[in-house]
């Protein structure tokens, strides 16, 4: 049933593929394009490990089909620091122990990338509420929240100078 052509830009590069209609965006990214940084933790839209940006907005890639992203732009964790250096947010995670096993981390980074872009001065409650769509079992969230606030401050500092 249902093979479909689709053309989607991922991390700035266009990919044209013919795929099964039911192939989820997450599986498309992981196995068709080999961007294995996006992870699957539940496949029912709760844990957020699969979060990517679709046309700039965070979305659960386990709840989308690759064919839905025809003509869309998708950003995965691999696209957050394309020049090989850790981004400000990624470095803040490292400095603040914002990850342990790393499985939820790509989703966290995507969600926080969106938050910091839309709200450059979040307070702690803003950060925590923004993160409720991403579950972490390892860290207890403290390091992630610290990292987000730290990154926000660093980005504001860079913007001002």
């Amino acid at each position: 049933m249902g093979r479909q052509a689709t053309r989607v830009t991922v991390n700035g590069k266009a990919y044209a593929r013919v795929v099964d209609a039911r192939l989820t965006l997450a599986d498309f990214l992981r196995h068709e394009l080999n961007f294995t940084g996006t992870h699957l933790g539940c496949e029912h839209g709760v844990c957020g490990a699969c979060t990517v940006l679709v046309d700039g907005h965070s979305a659960r890639s386990c709840l989308m089909f690759a064919v839905q992203t025809n003509d869309c732009e998708v950003t995965t964790v691999e696209g957050l620091a394309p020049d090989g250096k850790l981004s400000v947010l990624q470095q803040a995670f490292m400095d603040n122990h914002g990850l342990q096993c790393g499985f939820c981390t790509p989703g966290m980074l995507i969600t926080l990338t969106e938050l910091l872009r839309d709200n450059p001065e979040p307070n702690e409650q803003d950060v925590r509420e923004a993160l409720t769509g991403n579950l972490c079992r390892c860290t207890g969230y403290a390091g992630i929240v610290r990292a987000a606030l730290d990154a926000a401050q660093r980005l504001r500092g860079a913007a001002e100078s």
Binding site: L63, V67, Q68, G133
Partner: protein, 289 residues
């Protein structure tokens, strides 16, 4: 948890979409996908065809005309959340939206999808019930209008025919200065409400209630207008006693029981949350004393 196979269709216009729905067997509509796709991944839902409405620009948008707010069915919850028109004309919806799922769900989820899915604990159907909204439904047979009271027919069931699609929602706007209150109780931030209450009060300068709407959700199969509470309030002076009695009539409902909450507890929450919602609405409506 991979879905069963299906054929995918991405119509560009409503006319094309309704024709597809009329002719394809076992077809499901893909709107935001936040409720449908999990069920497909669990294989609780097996669809042979998926009709994706994501390309239908004509179903998006928020307009205000003649004291009515008209919202296209495919308008994303995120766009509702940040809409100045909604904030001005339907502040109840703006407040309710903060409780719907998480950022990711609101980025994709739509108002039409939420209405068609008809989860008993969903906020948007409750807001539509509170406002006596009219649902505009399209098919190859044309467009028909259904009052919300007639649209929600039962547990996750609506008056939609298998080949019909929600095209738009129209909400009558309440008078400027009306008060709104919204309270729900969920276990965690963004979870489905175990119970919720939405209150609207239009109060005259004489402190007499001109119009009242008290809507419970999460407690019954569909959003419930508490007629007894509204009757108690309408045409009467608004004071703490009136509010308390009105909230207490939430006790009269027949609530559902499931693994998340017993009927008893839901009944209790309905009363507590109604009191809070009415108090907020009264305060915002400028209740005297």
């Amino acid at each position: 948890m991979k879905p069963a196979p299906f054929d995918y269709h991405a119509p560009r216009q409503l006319k094309e979409a309704t024709e597809l729905l009329a002719k394809l067997p076992n077809a499901k509509i893909l709107a935001g996908g936040q409720s449908l796709v999990p069920m497909m991944n669990f294989r609780y839902v097996i669809a042979d065809h998926l009709v994706d409405l994501g390309g239908l620009q004509e179903l998006r948008g928020i307009t205000v005309a003649d004291d009515r707010l008209r919202i296209g069915a495919m308008t994303r919850q995120r766009d509702l959340e940040f809409s100045a028109d909604i904030a001005k004309h339907c502040p109840l919806m703006t407040e309710a939206l903060r409780h719907i799922g998480h950022r990711q769900t609101r980025n994709r989820g739509t108002i039409g999808g939420s209405l068609a899915h008809a989860d008993p604990a969903a906020e948007l159907p409750a807001i539509c019930a509170a406002h006596d909204a009219t649902i505009h439904v399209a098919s190859v047979r044309g467009v028909r209008e259904i009052r919300f009271r007639d649209f929600a027919t039962g547990f996750m069931t609506t008056a939609l025919q298998p080949d019909e699609v929600v095209a738009a929602v129209e909400l009558p706007i309440w008078p400027a200065g009306h008060g709104h209150g919204f309270h729900e109780f969920a276990r965690r931030h963004g979870d489905f409400a175990l119970a919720g209450s939405a209150a609207l009060l239009d109060v005259g300068p004489d402190n007499i209630v001109r119009k009242a709407a008290l809507t419970l959700f999460g407690v019954a199969a569909s959003p419930l207008r508490v007629d007894a509470a509204e009757a108690r309030l309408t045409g009467q002076p608004l004071d703490a006693n009136a509010i308390r009695t009105a909230a207490a009539s939430a006790w009269l409902i027949e609530p559902i029981s499931d693994i998340h909450a017993s009927g008893e507890y839901r009944r209790h929450l309905a009363q507590v949350l109604s009191l809070r919602a009415l108090n907020d609405a009264a305060r915002r409506a400028g209740m005297q004393a």
